[in-house]
C-alpha cells in the first residue's frame, strides 16, 4: 500500500521541484530592452554671396557704390590725361559650408574703353587701364592683376580647403599712370568699364 503512495508522493515532489526550479529561473528579471531611435538629417553643400558693400578702407578717387556699380571719379588726369590712382575696398557677406573654390573673373581683362571694340586707339593713346583686385577670403590672400593686355575674359581661381563664412574682401587699386600702352600714356576719351565677378563654387 505504501509503495504506491510513496511513489505517487515522489512523483508529485519531483513535479514540485520542477516548478520550483522553473520559478527560480524566471525570477531573474529580464534585461531591459532599449528602444533605439536614430535621428537623421542632411546639410547640403551651399555657397552664398551677398551684395557688395563698401569696406572700411575708404575710397580714393572712387564715388559711392551704386547697387553693384562702383564709379571712378576721375580716371584721367585732366592735364596729362594719364591715369590717376584710385582704390576702394568692397566686401561681400559670403558663406560656403564646404571646401570650395573662389574665382575672380574680369569680363574685359582690364578697364577698357567701350564703344570701339576691336578698333585700336589712335597712335600714342591708350584705351585700357590695368588694375589689381586683392582678395581676402578665409585663409586666402590672393592678388589678381588684371593687366589690360588684351580685351578678353580673365580669371583667377583659388582652392579653399575648408568651409568659410564672413566677409569676402576685395581691395581694388589702380596705379597712377597705368595703361595698356606705356606708363603715363594719355587715355583716349570714352567710357571705361569692366565687370568683375566673384564666384564661390565647388572645387
Amino acid at each position: 500500500m505504501k509503495a504506491p503512495l510513496m511513489r505517487t508522493a515522489a512523483i508529485l515532489a519531483g513535479l514540485s521541484l520542477g516548478l520550483a526550479a522553473a520559478g527560480a529561473a524566471s525570477a531573474q528579471t529580464a534585461q531591459p530592452q532599449p528602444a533605439n531611435f536614430p535621428v537623421h538629417g542632411e546639410t547640403p553643400q551651399l555657397c552664398i554671396v551677398g551684395n557688395p558693400q563698401l569696406g572700411s578702407g575708404g575710397l580714393v578717387n572712387f564715388l559711392s557704390l551704386n547697387g553693384t556699380t562702383l564709379r571712378i571719379d576721375r580716371l584721367a588726369d585732366s592735364r596729362t590725361l594719364a591715369t590717376q590712382a584710385a582704390s576702394a575696398d568692397v566686401t561681400f557677406a559670403a558663406m560656403c559650408n564646404f571646401p570650395h573654390r573662389v574665382v575672380l573673373e574680369s569680363q574685359n581683362g582690364g578697364l577698357f574703353r567701350g564703344g570701339s571694340v576691336g578698333q585700336p586707339p589712335p597712335s600714342g593713346f591708350a584705351d585700357g587701364v590695368p588694375y589689381t583686385a586683392t582678395l581676402t577670403w578665409g585663409p586666402v590672400n590672393a592678388s589678381f592683376f588684371v593687366d589690360a593686355a588684351a580685351r578678353k575674359d580673365t580669371q583667377l581661381g583659388v582652392a579653399v580647403g575648408l568651409p568659410v563664412a564672413g566677409d569676402l574682401k576685395l581691395h581694388l587699386a589702380i596705379q597712377p599712370g597705368a595703361s595698356n600702352l606705356t606708363a603715363n600714356a594719355p587715355l583716349i576719351a570714352g567710357v571705361y568699364s569692366d565687370t568683375l565677378f566673384v564666384t564661390l563654387e565647388p572645387q
Binding site: 528579471t29 537623421h40 538629417g41
Partner: protein, 186 residues
Amino acid sequence: MTLSKPLACLALATLLAPVAAHAAPAPATGVVTINANVAPRCEGGTLDGASSTFEMGILIDTSSGLLLNDLSAPPKTLVGAFCNTKSSISIIATPMQAQSFTGAPPVGFTDAIDYTASASGWTPTAATFTTDAASNPAALQTRDAAFTGDITVEVSNFTPVGGVALRPVADPNYLGTVIVTLAAVS
C-alpha cells in the same frame, strides 16, 4: 470489446484485497507544496510604423546656411508597452554629428546639432534629455505600480552645438540616437 470488461474487474479486485486484510490501517499522507513566481517584467511595446528613424530632412535654411529654427519630425509611438511591477523609464540622446566631416569645424561653423528628446505617456512627467545640458535629472522617471500603455517619443528644440550663429558644415549624414529604456524596479 468483449475482452476489456473482465480485465478491468480483475484489476479492481487486486487493489482492494490488501484493505480487506487489515482492519484499521494507518493513514498515509503525501504532502505537496507548489510554489511559483511571476518575475518582474517590462516590455517596451511595438513600434507603430515602419521606421524608427526621426528623419529631419534638410537641416539648414538655404538662403542663409543657418540651422532651421522650426525643425520637426512626427513622433514615434511604442504601442502596448507594459510592466507588471514598479518601473522606470529612462531616455538618453546623443547630438546629431556630421558623419563625413573630419577635423575641427572652422570658425563660424559647427559639425553637430543639439536637441531635446522626450518619452511621454508612461509617467506623469515625461522623461526628457537635452543633449547640451550639463545634467538631465528628468531623464529618469518612475512609476510606482504596474502599468500598460503607449509611449510617445519626440525630438525638438534643435540648436547648433556652439551657438545659434554657427552654420552646420555640409554633410549628407548628420546622425544622433535616442535610446528609451523601460525597466522593472525591484
